[in-house]
């Protein structure tokens, strides 16, 4: 079995979820690497979008900013932020990736602040940026993150970006687009989806080297479990080769 680090595993798993002919809005870093890897393996015609306006670039290297020149290098379109966001709102964008400081059992994400007083936060983060927009408007939201019980918590200080809100149909009752929502949470320990009815986070597979106990102990809320938990298919040799040699040769991302 090939040797790999957790980020490499997460990127490879994320890439496999991006089928050919789909559209994905990505940010910098691991999500961009996952999309590039998908393109260079099974999804050559997957279309990458950046929120500042870039569409289907031929990426010469990892962008530093979702608005820098790389994001529309030899692109099929260099448009605008409203153009990208409205394309998402219209229902033409299949996937996006989010990050955040906290995530709860319904996939709601906090990237705004730690603390109880909005006017005087204990710790302030950048805020939504485009995260709330993409989480609201793309069909399927994914997250790649290291898993620990502080990050995976139902005591979330601030819901910046909507998951399934309070579960059940609450996301759609709130007015968010029907059928959209969190799809996969990809951690160093496991791959989670969401229960069809309750919309609670549900473990689908466990990464090699981890146990059920690891996964639950490093999560601040009770996880649901799929009827049949498999072992996550680890990165294949060809995936790792392409990721390391073509996608991120300088190890900007996978070297972190």
């Amino acid at each position: 079995m090939a040797d790999y680090n957790p980020l490499e595993l997460m990127i490879c798993v994320a890439a496999r979820n991006l089928e050919d002919g789909s559209t994905v809005v990505v940010g910098t870093g691991a999500p961009c690497a996952a999309a590039m890897l998908a393109q260079k393996t099974h999804s050559p015609n997957m279309c990458i979008l950046f929120e500042a306006g870039g569409v289907a670039p031929i990426l010469p290297s990892m962008p530093i900013s979702v608005g820098d020149s790389r994001t529309f290098h030899k692109a099929l379109m260099a448009s605008s932020m409203p153009e990208i966001m409205e394309t998402c709102q219209r229902g033409m964008v299949d996937y996006t990736f989010l990050g955040g400081a906290q995530i709860d059992m319904y996939g709601n994400i906090n990237s705004t602040m730690i603390g109880k007083d909005h006017a005087r936060p204990t710790v302030r983060f950048p805020g939504s940026g485009g995260a709330n927009d993409l989480a609201s408007l793309c069909w399927r939201t994914m997250m790649m993150t290291v898993q620990d019980a502080k990050r995976f918590t139902n005591n979330i200080d601030f819901i910046t970006s909507p998951g399934y809100l309070q579960g059940g149909t609450s996301r759609y009752d709130a007015g968010l687009p029907k059928g959209s929502g969190p799809y996969r949470i990809i951690t160093n320990m496991a791959i989670m989806g969401f229960d069809d009815e309750s919309k609670k986070m549900k473990v689908l597979s466990i990464n090699p080297g981890y146990s059920r106990e690891d996964v639950q102990d490093n999560c601040g809320f009770e996880l649901m479990w799929a009827p049949r938990i498999t072992e996550t298919d680890p990165p294949h040799a060809d995936e790792l080769r392409i990721l390391r040699e073509e996608v991120d040769p300088h190890r900007y991302i996978i070297g972190r």
Binding site: G29, S79, R120, G129, D133
Partner: protein, 340 residues
């Protein structure tokens, strides 16, 4: 309206909620129209200087917005000059802001901010000083998102007081915004309504424009077309002036028309240390230095004294950081020129 839809809407209407934070600007479309009625649309030359524009077009207390995307195609000369002239109590549209926000935080120029993205410089990390400034409580914050601020500008650009949209519903982002829930009169669907944002002042860096302000921009345009239309006073800094003849050769390429623009300043390399598409890449070394000195407030003060307050203008700043030789390197990086 069908009875069912009417009942459905009436039932839902009482449960509609509003964001609880402050709306910093007036969304009224008629008030904006009264302003735009008096705004000059004469085709007259508008050349000015950075000093003059910041002195005469921007007042303490104004609400401002910056074009581009934080460290991409930003009007650095204007942002520096705002700090240099010590403008205070500004309102700020924290929309796709990164390095621009960082500079204005170093100058403690604003006391209220519409937040979409602040403090961070994307993959580069967070700004320690911007974080201190925001965590100090000196700045009133209202939460929004990138799309939300795009659409607030678009509402203004369209001459409306609001636009509906389907994001931010159900979140704390909504709760700490100044948005309101409304219902679609045709479907009963719940929407977030976003109030139009008419900034008092906007600065946008463009690739080329004529003396009237007819401008070309290349690459991703972020929200700058709507920003130019929505703002009451607009200054363009431009990599180069071009003849109006060139504008007339490709009228479909006009990105901003003259009637939006109040002043034009030719500022070659004007987005430095930010990236300017097809011209030069960002100076990552210099941006890292910013983040590094910010860890110590004393270091930051010295850095700002040297880089901004102690320089006469943008060109002294540019010279201090490597001048034309540096720009040649950044151009090679941008154009992926092999061997440089």
């Amino acid at each position: 309206m069908s009875t069912t839809l009417k009942e459905n809407i009436e039932q839902k209407e009482n449960a509609l909620i509003s964001g609880q934070n402050d709306l910093f600007t007036n969304p009224d479309a008629d008030a904006a129209r009264q302003f735009f009625r008096t705004k000059s649309r004469a085709l007259k030359p508008k050349l000015s200087t950075v000093q003059e524009v910041v002195k005469t077009m921007l007042n303490d207390g104004d609400y401002i917005a910056i074009g581009g995307f934080g460290a991409n195609r930003i009007p650095t000369a204007i942002i520096h000059e705002i700090v240099r002239q010590g403008k205070k109590r500004l309102g700020f549209a924290g929309h796709t802001s990164t390095h621009d926000f960082q500079i204005l935080c170093a100058g403690e120029c604003f006391d209220r901010c519409d937040v979409a993205y602040i403090i961070g410089l994307e993959a580069r990390g967070l700004s320690p000083n911007a974080r201190r400034y925001i965590e100090s409580g000196k700045v009133k914050l209202t939460e929004w998102t990138n799309a939300t601020l795009s659409w607030r500008l678009k509402a203004a650009a369209m001459g409306l007081s609001f636009l509906p949209a389907r994001n931010i519903l159900g979140t704390n982002t909504f709760q700490y915004s100044a948005a309101k829930e409304i219902l679609c009169p045709f479907t009963g669907q719940k929407y977030a309504a976003f109030p139009a944002l008419f900034p008092d002042f906007a600065a946008i860096h463009v690739h080329e424009c004529d003396v009237y302000g007819n401008a070309h921009v290349y690459g991703a345009s972020v929200s700058d077309q709507d920003l130019a239309k929505a703002s009451k006073r607009v200054v363009l800094t431009t990599e180069r002036l071009i003849s109006t003849e060139k504008i007339r050769q490709n009228p479909e390429a006009t990105f901003i028309p003259f009637w939006c623009v109040d002043a034009v300043i030719e500022v070659p390399y004007g987005s430095y240390p930010g990236n300017m598409p097809y011209e030069y890449f960002s100076d990552e070394e210099h941006l890292r230095e910013w983040l590094k000195v910010e860890k110590d407030p004393e270091e930051l003060k010295k850095f700002i004294d040297r880089q901004i307050l102690g320089t006469k203008d943008f060109y002294e700043y540019l010279e201090l950081n490597g001048g034309i030789e540096k720009m040649k390197k950044l151009r090679a990086a941008e154009l992926l020129i092999p061997g440089r």
